[in-house]
């Protein structure tokens, strides 16, 4: 491990990569602060830039920096304006915004920054410990287990979608998988489902799809329904210091939430959003009566908990990505797509074949967290000015960057028309409350899922691998339980509820 750390440090500390971390964090904070633009859109917009850098370590470092920056920026707008830029920071506004209203905006931002720093750093240490262990287990996996593992991942993502949403999330996943089969696959060298259209020969572009699924609908929603930005974001942020007593109060919260957030982040489908809400709820429940009263009115514990948890969860979500090559969230799915575009296949072999990439990413997490704490915190009063950019200028630029991203990737104007078309479809899906992340995850995993499925079929001359390999069977059973459980539980709950209603 020490050797790996040194390799990583060497790579991450090169001038280019340091610039990437700093630049990524700044860009991420900048855009993440804008209400309505989530980390997925920001990363999707940055991907063409990252890919054209050409160096996988640098690209991944840049994108990871953008990711942390976006979460950090999101909490800034949650605290200052009660307008979370990112779903994962909604819980931060519960106590952060009341603090800002009481004139303690500077203090709230400092607590958020320290909690994020601690959550991210502890998360990175846990990642350093768990990822190598997990990937040495994963090396024993065969294609049959990989196939089963991806099925588990996809079902977990659908299962976490919420009550009444599992079928929708599943349908979106299947749709993503279907879209992945369009074009000429590596497996058969046969064009499939191209309907004779030449432009479909290579399949749908991943960047185009990512932009169409996230950036474009989010921008259109901003057009449709301008958000009211309330509050006083006019640079009254002073007194960033916190007292020793306050530091003492939040230290145990940070410790607990780093661990809890990290492990929630590792689970596929449960990301920063769930981690932050759960962290907030847990801390409120275990607080003393007097402290519980404070929650929701500007409690420092109530701010520190979600802030720590969401950053730890972001780091945790890198575990399945780096060790298994399976993304657990929309954001890591986009990162996976970027890595594949750079000819790097994340998975257990990553640590053996490209240790410098793996360790450089981990080291850059430490550096990134430090950058956010040391560089971004003092700059926040100035960066917050971005919130006053009129939307008349902002939205055309967002749309333009979406278009540019799709164009640079393919150098093809047809891609732009596809982008608009898919963007309209995605907006309609968003209206009807269909989750879009499963579609993209399905699309990105589709090729690998089919490859592993085909390899096991060839090896076992049929589907007998499903019952002849106990681990595969076990994983598939877990996947089935994950899908059935939420609807079963809601059915039982309803039967109970209806029993009460019809009690006469």
């Amino acid at each position: 491990m020490l050797e790996g750390l040194l390799i990583g440090l060497q790579t991450a500390l090169s001038v280019q990569n340091l610039l990437m971390v700093v630049g990524g964090c700044l860009i991420g904070t900048f855009i993440g602060m804008l209400p309505g633009l989530g980390p997925m859109s920001i990363i999707a917009i940055m991907i063409p830039v990252a890919i054209s850098i050409g160096d996988p370590s640098a690209a991944l470092i840049l994108l990871a920096g953008v990711y942390y920056g976006a979460i950090f920026g999101g909490s800034t707008s949650s605290i200052l304006l009660n307008a979370p830029g990112v779903a994962g920071t909604v819980a931060s506004s519960f106590d952060g915004y009341p603090m800002a209203r009481q004139g303690k905006a500077g203090k709230a931002l400092t607590i958020a920054a320290i909690a994020s720093f601690a959550g991210g750093t502890i998360g990175a240490i846990l990642l350093m410990v768990f990822a190598p262990a997990l990937s040495s287990v994963a090396l024993l996996f065969h294609s049959a287990e990989y196939f089963a593992l991806m099925v588990v991942g996809l079902s977990a993502i659908a299962a976490f979608a919420g009550t009444g949403q599992v079928a929708k999330a599943l349908l979106m996943t299947v749709l993503g998988l279907i879209m992945a089969t369009v074009g000429e696959g590596a497996l058969f060298n046969l064009p499939r489902f191209t309907m004779g259209i030449m432009d479909l020969q290579t399949g749908f572009g991943f960047i185009t799809l990512a932009m169409a699924m996230f950036a474009l609908p989010e921008a259109l929603f901003l057009v449709l329904k301008p958000r009211k930005i309330e509050g006083e974001g006019d640079g009254e942020i002073k007194d960033l210091r916190i007292t020793r007593a306050e530091a003492k109060a939040i230290a145990p919260v940070i410790g607990r939430q780093s661990l809890q957030g990290f492990f929630i982040g590792v689970l596929p489908g449960a990301g920063a959003t769930i981690a932050s809400f759960l962290g907030y709820a847990v801390e409120r429940n275990i607080a003393t009566k007097a402290e519980q009263e404070e929650f929701g009115k500007g409690s420092i514990k109530g701010l520190a908990a979600p802030e720590t948890a969401n950053n730890a969860a972001c780091t945790g979500s890198f575990v399945p990505l780096l060790t298994l090559g399976i993304p657990g969230s929309g954001t890591t799915a986009i990162l996976l797509g970027a890595l594949i575009a750079l000819n790097v296949t994340p998975g257990p072999r990553l640590m053996l074949d490209d240790p410098q990439i793996f360790w450089a990413v981990i080291m850059s997490m430490f550096i990134g967290n430090l950058v956010l704490l040391v560089l971004n915190l003092p700059l926040i009063p100035y960066i917050a000015k971005v919130l006053s950019i009129p939307r008349n200028y902002l939205i055309p630029f967002i749309l333009f960057f979406t278009l540019m991203g799709a164009y640079i990737g393919q150098n093809n104007a047809t891609e732009l028309l596809l982008l608009v078309g898919f963007g309209i479809c995605a907006t309609a899906l968003k209206f009807a409350d269909y989750p879009l992340a499963p579609l993209l995850i399905g699309f990105i995993l589709g090729g690998m899922l089919e490859d592993n499925f085909a390899r096991s079929m060839q090896l076992y001359d049929g589907i007998s691998f499903i019952w002849e390999r106990p681990m595969t069977l076990g994983l598939l059973v877990i996947a089935a339980i994950l899908i059935v459980l939420p609807s079963y539980r809601s059915r039982v709950a309803k039967r109970k509820a209806s029993g009460v209603a019809d009690g006469d």
Partner: protein, 160 residues
């Protein structure tokens, strides 16, 4: 019928068409030696089409009950939102896609940014035009010089 079930109906249609291709038409062009393989190019799509049809039917028939969530935007009252602006901006994006090659990057982009702000209600030309011009030049410089991706800067008839 609510929008989500209409969408499920459309997706069901897509899955049926996809399934028809996978089950009935795709295998006809398969080379004889490939038929001996346990896996065909159509195997995975066949599985997917079945899964897709099942899940689409579950939504269409309302088999999975869940509480109706209040979305961020109520699509039944689309008229209350700035739907006109959104549609015009989409049309503008299509126009940009069609003009990018023939009219060149510099002109198309500047026009896109200016018209985009105009659609959203901006009327301060003295702000709009310089901002759009400067931004276009910066992006063009970054893409062309830093990233090294060629984009035709000027209209074709200028020899750009």
């Amino acid at each position: 019928m609510a929008l989500d079930r209409w969408i499920a109906l459309i997706l069901l249609g897509i899955c049926l068409a996809y399934g028809y291709a996978a089950w009935f038409t795709m295998d006809s062009s398969l080379a004889p030696f490939m038929r001996r393989n346990p896996i065909w190019p159509s195997t995975f799509p066949k599985v997917l089409s079945v899964l897709g049809i099942i899940t689409a039917l579950i939504i269409l028939l309302g088999l999975e009950k869940g509480e109706a969530k209040e979305g961020e935007i109520d699509y039944r009252r689309l008229g209350d939102y700035h739907i006109g602006q959104a549609l015009t901006l989409l049309a503008l994006m299509v126009a940009y896609a069609l003009c990018l090659r023939p009219l060149g990057f510099l002109f198309s982009t500047t026009a896109f940014l200016i018209v985009g702000s105009y659609i959203l209600g901006e009327r301060k030309w003295l702000m709009m035009v310089p901002i759009a011009l400067v931004a276009t030049l910066i992006v063009w410089y970054l893409v062309q010089q830093v990233l090294g991706i060629y984009m035709r800067p000027l209209p074709g008839f200028f020899g750009g």
